[in-house]
């Protein structure tokens, strides 16, 4: 495992010499700014109306974390769905088109060195995106009084969703030579994951167990609780299972090149 950092380092440098990393970072910051402004404006509007109608008990219940920061976090998690595939599409696909897959697999590296190195690079990029997300609620501490722990727990949720997306995107990239196919495949997988609860609500499956499982499989409910400040082991376990699961699948997929 000593070469995880070698692989991750090259991958990160590769990301930052291509325009992709900069496009993703600037788009993410821009969209974040727009969403934050909109959410703040909506929150202000609420406060204003409630004051107008002198609904003081409702005004008491209104809180920054739930009605502003939480909303913002959930929107940003959806934005990740569009941007993370752009970061992960090249992770393995480009090694195949460059012919460098043969270099990696004939070097004294283990498959885990390669898979974890690539994941680490993607994960560090997600942390960067997490820092962008964190900058907005940080502003609120100057003007208001949000609950710090709940703010952090929601941020953790967004980052964990991002890491899960990286694991899924890496897997998709390992299946194909084409970055375009990897992008679309990741996008579709993440979209399905996102709408699973809606499908479960349709109750076409009939049985309650299946619906339960579909809701569990989606990131939505887990992120929701983390945003509320409920850092439950159940949710941490969910993200651990998803990430590990897709890393294991990726490892099998990379290894299968040898047996084809």
């Amino acid at each position: 495992m000593k070469h995880v950092s070698s692989v991750a380092g090259r991958e990160l440098r590769g990301l930052f010499v291509s325009p992709v990393a900069y496009i993703v970072l600037s788009l993410f910051s821009l969209i974040g700014g727009v969403f934050f402004t909109v959410t703040v404006a909506a929150f202000n509007e609420w406060v204003f109306r409630l004051q107008q109608f002198q609904a003081f008990d409702q005004l008491q219940e209104l809180n920054l974390n739930e009605h502003l920061i939480g909303q913002f976090y959930q929107s940003m998690a959806v934005v990740l769905l569009f941007l993370v595939p752009g970061i992960t599409m090249g992770l393995f696909a480009s090694e195949k088109t460059n012919g460098t897959q043969e270099l990696l697999l004939t070097s004294p590296l283990t498959i885990w060195d390669i898979v974890l190195g690539k994941f680490l690079a993607g994960a560090l990029f997600v942390l960067l995106l997490g820092a962008v997300v964190a900058a907005f609620p940080a502003l609120l501490f100057a003007y208001g009084d949000p609950e710090p722990l709940q703010t952090l727990s929601g941020l953790l949720g967004v980052v964990l969703v991002g890491l899960t997306y990286v694991a899924i995107g890496g897997f998709a990239s390992s299946l194909t030579r084409s970055q375009m196919v990897a992008f679309l495949l990741t996008f579709v997988l993440l979209l399905v994951l996102l709408i699973l609860p809606a499908i479960a609500d349709l109750d076409v499956a009939g049985a309650g167990g299946m619906g339960e499982f579909m809701r569990w499989l989606s990131t939505e409910s887990h992120l929701e609780d983390l945003v509320k400040g409920l850092v439950d082991t159940q949710h941490l376990a969910y993200f651990a299972v998803m990430i590990t699961g897709f890393l294991v699948l990726t490892k099998a997929s990379v290894e299968s090149v040898r047996w084809r």
Partner: protein
Amino acid sequence: MIEARQLSKRYGDVHAVQGVSFEVGRGEVVGFLGPNGAGKTTTMRMLTGFVPPTDGTAVIAGHDIFSDPLAARRAIGYLPETLPLYPEMSVRSYLEYVARIKDVPRRERRGAVDRALERCGLAHVARRVIGTLSKGYRQRVGIAQAIVHDPEVLILDEPTVGLDPLQVREIRQLLRDLANPRDGQPQHTVILSTHILPEVEAICRRVILMNGGRKVVDAPLAELTKDGRSLDEIFARETARDVTAEPLEGAR
């Protein structure tokens, strides 16, 4: 240095390589010949650990490719058929990366890269981005990545393909230098695949000829050509029989 024992590779019903065995001693330079589809690339890929053999095994510098794959791979420098280059990296940072994943210790890395750059005539383009280099220079970078960790064994799959005559001459000279003893010690053991026959005559002292996935000739070049026959004639005669479709009897 290299010992192939009954190497076989089957893809579905196709026997790409069937029971190939040979030994290559330290400092030997062997030309690996054969028409397209003869199994040269597959054999090299098995030796380098890129694809595992369906049957048989190989021992590289004393390390079995199955029981000690990392040590075996460490001992090999490999130039695959398609150059394994990252177009966005500079020549130097690419070679540093390769040296790193080939387990060259941190302190020796800079020296190793400088040496590879110099031997391949790349010193003046070390800071250039690989994607902007000409085909000939990219080929040299490919060879540089194969020798950067000073491996005991060099496996080169068609190192001069697609080059102009001048570049071919340069690369051949480079390969001869690599094979020459340094300080009285034989340095690299080289397996070189090609279908350019003069190349073999220019560089190699021994020839292994493959056809239809089998080894058909394995002899010193001098012995093969001693009765005045050219390598050309030998190649034509030995590859005339089409054995590609012939199923191996008793194959598992």
